[in-house]
Subunit: 508 residues, 2 copies
Amino acid sequence: AKAYARWASSGGKIVAPPMVYISGEEMTRYAMQLVMDNWIEPHVDTSTWEYYDLSCKARDDTEDKVLADAVDAGKRIKAIFKEPTITPTAEQVESLGLRKAWGSPNGAMRRGWNGITISRDTIHIEGVELGYKRPVLFERHAVGGEYGAGWKATGSGKLVTAFYPSEGGPEATLMRNDFTIVDQRDLKDAENVAVVYHNPLDNVDDLAHHFFKRCLAEKVVPYVVTKKTVFKWQESFWAIMKRTFDTHYKAAYAEAGLLDKCGGELQHLISDAATMQIIRWTDGGFGMAAHNYDGDMLTDEVAQVHRSPGFITSNLIGKSDSGELIKEFEASHGTVSDLWHQHLAGVETSFNPLGMLEAIIGAMDHAAALAGPEKEAEMTKFTEALRSAVHTSFRIGEGTRDMVGPEGLSTEQFVATVRARLGRYLEGDFVEPKEAEVCTIKSSTDVTRDPSLPEVDHSAVQEMFNQYDLDGNGTIDVEEFEQMLDKLGVAPLREEKKTYHEHEAGQV
Amino acid sequence: AKAYARWASSGGKIVAPPMVYISGEEMTRYAMQLVMDNWIEPHVDTSTWEYYDLSCKARDDTEDKVLADAVDAGKRIKAIFKEPTITPTAEQVESLGLRKAWGSPNGAMRRGWNGITISRDTIHIEGVELGYKRPVLFERHAVGGEYGAGWKATGSGKLVTAFYPSEGGPEATLMRNDFTIVDQRDLKDAENVAVVYHNPLDNVDDLAHHFFKRCLAEKVVPYVVTKKTVFKWQESFWAIMKRTFDTHYKAAYAEAGLLDKCGGELQHLISDAATMQIIRWTDGGFGMAAHNYDGDMLTDEVAQVHRSPGFITSNLIGKSDSGELIKEFEASHGTVSDLWHQHLAGVETSFNPLGMLEAIIGAMDHAAALAGPEKEAEMTKFTEALRSAVHTSFRIGEGTRDMVGPEGLSTEQFVATVRARLGRYLEGDFVEPKEAEVCTIKSSTDVTRDPSLPEVDHSAVQEMFNQYDLDGNGTIDVEEFEQMLDKLGVAPLREEKKTYHEHEAGQV
């Protein structure tokens, strides 16, 4: 409290260090403009930020030079915030009058920034329960796997893959003799697709450091997830992770008690078993690091268990040529077209900007950290106040409708409420007249459904209720409740037996 | 009722048509022997069955000839039941005194029987709720993907993959000129793994027929699951599925009303969106067909939502050279070592044989179907009585402890109970004195936990209960219940809005 007050009393705005701001379009563009105008600009001088517009129109107008410029800027400045963007469909190319279907910008960014990992973590609001109770941290290797595969449809025949050491020789003729055969196979079917990819491994060590530092800071138990029992080449990923862990982190983890339930060693989890544990381990408190495609699948599963992709971060961690980390922060969701069309039609919306808030806070904090400890301390005072103003608003029932139900605020009302609360916080006024009154109930139960999500079927609920109301007295007591939780597969379990399925699922 | 009685009155045993019985070891071997001795042999003459012992010891003693023989027999007979087997670890090679670590028999069986699909469906017990309310059917393409990949660890250099039409030319020299380059790429990292695989597509049409026939029979909505939006080569799988659907099944599905909520067309679902829908669609009533690895991941996720792999089938569907289907039926679980060691130590066990029961019934029914409609009718009368005797036992509380709690029966008691009940059924006596009394409660609520699963944390349950008991009166009423379900993400939803996340998740 004092800290905020002291800062606020300095009078002017914080001068933000350089940062790249990549804007997109539709509802998320609109909401972020409100956030900038009302939450950030009144308190922060953002004149050093560089802005790049990745709307379809701007990419089309510049023949995608704007993307290349944004990537260059990110390389230089190393702290990037990105709004959701649209990768136009054929129909959108038509309706927006574009020259061509500009592809997803993700590839250019991952390449340009030497992407190491996409970190996707659960977002938690103090005093409000979403899906997992404690944080779930995820690293998805940002390179390798089928995303960069080459392929061809073929008839029957022979497929030969050869590796040539880099130096010398014409590439296309295959006439050199210094090759090693990677694979040769007969394709017997009349119709096949042949697929080739590689996993570059040089940055797995960087991924490991990033992952193990984060898990240690959050006090969660790290798992490395692969299918190496069958896909033998994935052994390398595990081996590098384990080597880095054992060399640099094992002692600190042991000290923190994070290996107590794992026999003192870093744990491996088979990918198909991970699909099961993600559903079972609803207490959270774990991290997973996985290959690219497994990470894609598993982080979406985590998002579903944690209520929706709206409560998951999506941060690309790369590395500059000089070895410094480049960090780009995004929300996990898209441009929320449906709300945008409602907004355009004059219908009131209630958009929850939490995912984007976490992203811009992450980028601002990282930019400040790059500027040095003094700037970091100054900036985090502001970003903590901002986060706290948003979380408190949710907690005391002044949130958007996905969180507090139909009585929740509109997009604009929510922005205004947080603006006022943040203003008070920065003046050192933290008194919440409503909090004492409603906090206990709202915090854990009044978190109702995002109106854009499917509606609950009330009669089916009643039917389900009757099933669990064993004695038919119209209420469920705690014994009935436990049986129900267990049956629904959501019962909290004792810690020590939690790894059961790991062994079981490995047999398949 | 009359049907069973009529059959029973014929006096002798049913003569089972030829079938291949592959036995394994540990708890599942022991339990299946009990099942054979008590449920099947008393009523069925199995003298035409061929038995193959795939225990580690037998494979070692025969230098795996027994596996080759089993595969040959399966090819000939086309109806196979297989118990869970052990793929020995290095430690087991040592402790069992094996010559070598015999690999999983799955590959040999998939190749030998021209595996098309692994069908993994939810098992349902009439009157007892597990995870999904209605059936979930899954086809996992039995070939292709990374399971058959070739790979090599490489340094930096160039990777070239070329395709040669099948005829003529030496294979290894790469000196022929009639190649097509499938892929060439620079490997820039110092450490890489290069991976090559192919997806043979000739049997996707067979998979499609099998899948669409089954979904139509069960009246569930079929989805084809791929990552084709990014992995463009997966378009072929979808295209073949859709062509077969449109040509042969669309009209019948439309007639059955199964396309009403899909705009009248077969639906595609992106694989990462599927990880979310599997958690959301707990009403069941859907089918998914996927590539090999996606199917591996997603069916394990389905198993977790449906309580455990004990309630999921695992059937390999192949094809003989003459074009007839070969069907092999398995349980999804392993040999249940922990119960086996308890049994060996003289501790009473309570093993639920439901997964293996479904498998042997599937194999017996298929063998009978191959023998003709008369034999099929005769056999299904018996297998229906058997299934019904098992299901009723569970329903009225005479089940194993995973289903009815600590008061449940031991492995041997359960076998004896079903044996007696089956005997009565086959005599035409279906009276269950206990059913009227206890069925309503047991059916939906007294399904408690497999004792081999992690224990519920009772104090955490109480804490959770308190959160949902909004008014703190010690019970949960129906309104509190609905909010809770919604928050847990398990609330039943209105049908029409269920496909929301399909669009949303596709943006990532």
